[in-house]
């Protein structure tokens, strides 16, 4: 129906809005659940850290923060490009949508590459006392969510190129970008809690 676009406007528009809203509600509830997941992981980290004055990354030298810091900027940029992608599809500019989604994807992949480099070069192991476990668990789950976000973006990109989206029907892009914002937001919190504090 999307491709021919010849259904009767009123009832299909209503049912589209209905099913769009359902998708958005489902995403919001899921993100709520995820927040409690990351929240309890963070709480576990803080609880363990409270019992240990000598936490490895306290007072880390600035050079230590170079790579993860740069990656943070990359990720923040990708949030901006994701927002531009959403704006483009709202205005019906599909070629812009494709462009911005691609940039976002590339930035996401750069981030992942950068983090992999960071993990393999900083010498920490998961079994390194308490800190190693916490660090890699938090980072690991974030990475999993990044991968999920990337997959969702890839899907959105493919569908965009196939012409599935219009200025009115693009809930998949909305879901994808909202999820992307969420994953970026989680990163900011984790980066602060693990590297900066």
């Amino acid at each position: 129906m999307n491709r021919t676009g010849l259904a009767s406007p009123s009832s299909s528009a209503r049912s589209t809005r209905r099913s769009d809203q359902t998708a958005r509600v489902a995403l919001l509830v899921t993100l709520g659940s995820e927040t409690f997941f990351f929240g309890t992981l963070l709480a576990a980290y803080l609880y363990m850290r409270a019992g240990q004055p000598d936490w490895p990354l306290t007072h880390a030298p600035l050079a230590r923060l170079a790579i993860p810091g740069a990656n943070t900027l990359v990720l923040l940029a990708s949030a901006l490009t994701a927002y531009f992608a959403l704006r483009s599809v709202r205005k019906g500019r599909i070629s812009n949508l494709v462009r911005w989604l691609s940039v976002t994807l590339v930035l996401g992949l750069v981030f992942i590459g950068g983090q992999v480099f960071e993990y393999t070069s900083n010498g920490m192991q998961p079994a390194d006392q308490a800190f190693g476990g916490v660090f890699f668990t938090l980072m690991g789950f974030h990475a999993l969510h990044m991968v999920a976000g990337i997959l969702v973006m890839v899907l959105a990109l493919l569908r965009a190129r196939l012409g599935d989206f219009t200025s009115r029907r693009h809930v998949a892009v909305q879901i994808g970008t909202w999820f992307w914002f969420y994953v970026v937001g989680v990163w900011v919190v984790l980066f602060t809690a693990l590297y900066l504090v």
Binding site: A26, F36, T40, A44, Y47, A127, Q129, A130, F131
Partner: protein, 548 residues
């Protein structure tokens, strides 16, 4: 309200097609039945585990089960009853009846719904397969660290537990998201929030609690799995981990979990009592909001399971006060049920008997719950049989009684047949008497110093009589469940003469045939009040006339 039964020629579909129909179904009614049947089987499994425990404890120095097997029994009994029986039974009823109650054709995401069921079944089978692969989990359903670390729990038993619970946690989370979206998005025209049936309110609140509480459990068990398999040190004290961290994470899930268990029970009873009193639920919005209050407060009381772990005095004060607080909305419901029955014309059919039994048993359980919120009292009775008594009064006398009420209430709708009333009454009375014989002496045992989770006890300390009575009670309960099973099977063989509305009920599920047609409603109804069917049948007394 009897309708003409049209006799259609019985077409025998080949077995293979029937089987595939059930395996591939995404219809909420079939999925509901899958949940109910599977959960009931697990309930029987958990019940057998309980019987073995009671037989071992019937006398001092029991030799029926050695400590290893005993620890597996009580661990699996708890895990099975909580995760594989109680929760899925509630989800089964929710699955079948929420769409009907809100006038929808199915849930929001039918395929995800099916996935939830199969994840549940896989988790249950996986966890129970451990019996064949080196033994079942044996560190308690609550699996406290560091007992569950590799050093103290050798072999893969606890890994079975972790992975099984993970599957179940994912199943429940997906199912809960599905319910929330369904409850919000798929209500029939005219069904505002305040006209939504109370069972749906309960289902909605329960699902919200689940969506926020289960992640904490996932965190707890992921960290345990990492400790056991990757050598991290979250709970490993020697290397900077923390033994109490597990308890905080687990109970942050664990306390809301008990409300996940009891709220659907409240919902069922809140549907049944009005029908069999022939009056509306007294103080509907108060009852509805009390569920929300319970849901919210339930996240702030978790450490009342940890009063003996050496918490600060300020924490003790806070969690004690908060735990008292959560008793208030619960008490409000009890009064609402009494208020509903007052002035009504009470019909003592089996669903109503179980609901009344629920009210009195839950009252006892709730009162003993208040007792353990009193910190100095808890210091004496926590981790003793007093708590075992408390938890079984609320979960068995409470939740199971309500689930049986729901089973008898909704059986005619699901199958088109009525269950036998006399057998139902025998089931009720035996279960009621048996349950009290089983759990009341346990409260006394706790006061006499008997700790929990002990595989035997010495002679001569005075625990023999109470334990023996408790075991006798267990057998009586067991017999009552057999009677139920017989009733179930026999009733399924009867001709389908129940009709759409055998109880003279109020809500939308009773407006369609028994069992309902494939897509529930020929036409989605528009509702004007909380009790659309009541309005139809008694137009002079219609709710919408009283602006409800």
């Amino acid at each position: 309200m009897a309708t003409q039964v049209e006799t259609m020629p019985r077409v025998r579909t080949p077995l293979k097609e029937q089987f595939l129909d059930w395996v591939l179904t995404t219809d909420h009614k079939k999925i509901g039945i899958l949940y109910l049947v599977t959960a009931f089987v697990f309930f029987l499994v958990g019940g057998i585990e309980a019987m073995l425990i009671r037989v071992q404890l019937a006398g001092p120095n029991g030799k029926i089960l050695g400590p290893d097997l005993y620890n597996q029994m009580f661990t699996m009994h708890g895990t099975t009853m909580v995760f594989l029986a109680a929760m899925p039974l509630a989800v089964g009823f929710g699955n079948y009846f929420v769409p009907l109650l809100i006038g929808a054709r199915d849930v929001a995401f039918p395929k995800l719904n099916a996935l939830s069921y199969w994840l549940f079944l896989s988790g249950g089978l996986f966890m129970n397969s451990s019996f064949l692969f080196g033994g079942a989990p044996d560190a308690g359903w609550f699996a406290y660290a560091p007992l569950t670390e590799r050093a103290f729990s050798v072999g893969s038993r606890m890994d079975f537990w972790v992975l099984g619970v993970m599957l179940l946690g994912i199943a429940t989370t997906i199912g809960s998201i599905n319910f929330i979206v369904t409850d919000l998005q798929l209500r029939a025209p005219g069904m505002t929030i305040s006209r939504t049936p109370i069972f749906v309110w309960a289902n909605f609140t329960t699902s919200f609690i689940a969506v926020f509480a289960l992640p904490a459990l996932v965190t707890a068990i992921v960290l345990l799995l990492l400790d056991r398999q990757l050598g991290t040190h979250f709970y490993n004290v020697q290397e900077g981990g923390n033994a109490v961290l597990w308890q905080h994470l687990f109970w942050f899930f664990g306390h809301p979990e008990v409300y996940i268990l009891i709220l659907p029970a409240f919902g069922i009873v809140s549907e049944v009592i009005p029908v069999f009193s022939r009056k509306p639920l007294f103080g509907f919005m108060t009852v509805a909001f009390s569920s929300i209050a319970i849901g919210v407060i339930s996240f702030t009381v978790w450490a009342h399971h940890m009063f003996s772990t050496g918490m600060s005095t300020a924490s003790l004060y806070f969690f004690s006060a908060d735990s008292f607080l959560i008793g208030v909305p619960t008490g409000v419901k009890v009064f609402a049920w009494l208020g509903t029955m007052w002035g009504g014309k009470l019909r003592f059919k089996t669903p109503m008997l179980f609901s009344i039994g629920f009210v009195s048993m839950f009252l006892i359980g709730g009162i003993s719950g208040i007792h353990v919120a009193v910190v100095p009292v808890d210091w004496q009775v926590t981790d003793t049989y007093y708590v075992v008594s408390h938890l079984h009064y609320v979960l068995f006398g409470g939740m199971m009684f309500a689930l049986f009420a729901g089973a008898y209430y909704w059986f005619p709708k699901m199958t088109g047949r009525l269950m036998d009333e006399s057998l139902g009454k025998v089931h009720f009375w035996l279960m009621f008497i048996g349950m009290n014989l089983l759990f009341l002496p346990q409260a006394i045992l706790g006061l006499e110093g008997m700790p929990r989770r002990v595989y035997t006890y010495p002679a001569g300390v005075g625990w023999e009589l109470e334990n023996l009575i408790s075991t006798v009670g267990a057998f009586i309960v067991g017999v009552s469940i057999l009677i139920y099973a017989v009733n179930l099977v026999q009733s399924l063989r009867k001709p389908p003469t129940a009709g759409p509305d055998p109880w003279d009920a109020f809500t939308l599920e009773w407006t369609v045939s028994s069992p309902p047609p494939d897509h529930n409603f020929a036409e989605i109804p528009t509702v004007r009040s909380r009790r659309p069917l009541w309005d139809q049948k008694y137009p002079e007394l219609a709710d919408w006339k009283a602006h409800r």
